[in-house]
Subunit: 260 residues, 3 copies
């Protein structure tokens, strides 16, 4: 089987940057199969990158090498790391991009990328995606031992994302994590918080009282809750953007109250 | 030869969704080669998806499996189908996405996707692209027999798109099908309607009287007709958007009158 | 090793065009691996296409076949060419797209594409990416000899891009080549012009006096110079768009004065 490498960045696709990283991989690991997760993460939005890689990783085979480059600190003293987590390897700057990967992981080993024999020389100041992260990923895909990358990092950078908080027996305070391209609002309310009976969910100035099994049952313009594809409660509207209707933004608090 | 799978969706490329579908394929059919047709279909625009897959399919080899997911009814009672048409297989929701494929086809066999041993479990309510359509396509790429998918669907959903209509001996009434990213307006006037001599073509408030062999011969700002790459008459302007100049939209009627 | 083909166009990714070119390649050269450099070149922007392919080509292996289609003259008398440059082959319309490739090349041989047995028939008037450029690239990837394409072109079209000009011992006048998706302004000041000591760089109405090793050391809102990943001096701002701050545009003159 061909080794698998995925790419997640905030580079966009109007410049040559993503294509150039694939050329670097083609030179080092011609047998590798490279797949884009997305290059449309908002510039410097580490939180969105962390959510994207955590949402996709469970669907990839063991052995996949994931490269994630949302890197406002490129060229500074920030570390560059690789983390082996439950059979996959993640290569990225040390700025919190693996927060959600690590939260649910069992086996984690994180190493600094310090063996510069694996880098593309000369290393530029501004494009470590090309010069460090993809060449290291390509060497890993070729079978370079993980232990060769560098020494163990005991305390990688984490993101301080608040978890949902129980307010009282019937009420939980959660958050909007992100809006997807359809305008669905993805919350941090996982399975334990999914409403079983009547409820009221406050999002910005809107009140939501229905949990629907699909989009078609909604009334035009109605905001409703739905179980999203990653297991989080989402707020949606039928063929409209719930993000636009509510004007809610990532980080906003939401309040879910169970009734009766 | 590696089995071929193509993907056409309205998912955009800013979220992880498309990448995740490719992970699902990599797990089930690691030898398959996956190619994006487009993920930029306007959200829920089944008509545009139907046009895109019909435009690209003739250029793909026999045996290609095409996945098309523009699916406003995901999670509802709408069927999910696969259709074997002249040696290729199309996997999609049953909402008309194959309208143009079927119109020109000779051999069609359509089956419901009901063998859930081919699905990714648990099946979510909102992301059948990941849980049903791509896993089924990957199994087909692996050689799962088409007949195993489910029972024959005799009356799949069709789109009621009006055909061009002859008004009198010299006049035909057609339609704008879509505008492409350059602003070229693609009409439904196929080869039989291409002007051979002088003509007048009314599009919104504009009148077009020249058929040109290429873009460079046009005057700045001039609207002209040209034979498009799929054989339909198109309305274009030189390095400008005919869609913006005319303000014409998909579905608008156009009238072509042959002179003399 | 699988033969490599890259694609660089101004087609965008909302239409089926790019996917269809990949179908054409899959039919002719099923073993080829096709990679997108970018399809987000601004429509008809030959200069940006020329910069993109020159930035990425050095990172691709010998033998790679690059297809570049920014082609406002499609269907007119403009030639279509392939150019073999230092072990890679570039296939494109003859309109200057290889300007920067040729400037730094040692061995160049350019041929007209006139052997229409290599084309997809019938050749359309508007989509030579599908009918000429990708089929020729696929045949080259299959091993068709370069010499078979057509006769040598001695004087391909060049772009008349002004080079940086020395004004006096301490001053050089250069240009903005492009803004990338982050808003970094890429200039044409290569290594010989990189400031070694104090300097003043005028860009539109802004004055820049600092050369920084990375983005994080900048003050909020500060414009600064940095050595870009292709070796050109760039003008940047920390997590902001220098293009938006300066309102500078491609082609604008800049003036760099060394102090003391």
């Amino acid at each position: 089987m061909r080794p698998l490498i995925t790419l997640t960045t905030d580079f966009g696709t109007t410049d040559h940057y993503v294509g150039t990283m694939k050329g670097v991989i083609a030179r080092i690991a011609p047998e590798a199969q490279v797949t884009d997760i997305t290059h449309g993460i908002a510039p410097f939005d580490v939180m969105s990158g962390a959510l994207a890689i955590a949402a996709t990783a469970p669907y990839w085979p063991e052995g996949t090498v994931h490269v994630i480059v949302i890197d406002p600190g490129v060229g500074s003293e920030r570390k560059q790391i690789a983390s082996r987590v439950d059979g996959q390897i993640f290569v990225c700057p040390d700025n919190g991009l693996l927060e959600f990967i690590w939260r649910r992981a069992r086996n984690i080993e994180t190493r600094e990328l310090s063996d510069d024999s694996l880098f593309l020389k000369p290393v530029s100041q501004t494009f470590h995606g090309r010069d460090i992260f993809t060449p290291v990923a390509a060497h890993l895909a070729n079978g370079t031992p993980f232990e060769q990358l560098g020494s163990v990092v005991a305390d990688p950078v984490r993101i301080d994302i608040p978890e949902p908080e129980r307010v009282d027996d019937n009420t939980v305070r959660g958050h909007i994590l992100k809006a997807d391209a359809f305008g669905n609002l993805i919350t941090d309310l996982g399975e334990e918080w999914h409403p079983k009976g009547d409820f009221q969910l406050s999002v910005a100035h809107s009140l939501i009282e229905r949990l629907l099994p699909n989009y078609t049952e909604a009334e035009p313009g109605e905001l409703f809750a739905i179980i999203g594809s990653s297991g989080w409660l989402e707020i949606s509207a039928k063929e409209e953007s719930a993000a636009a209707i509510t004007a809610a933004e990532p980080g906003d608090e939401i309040v879910l109250r169970m009734l009766g």
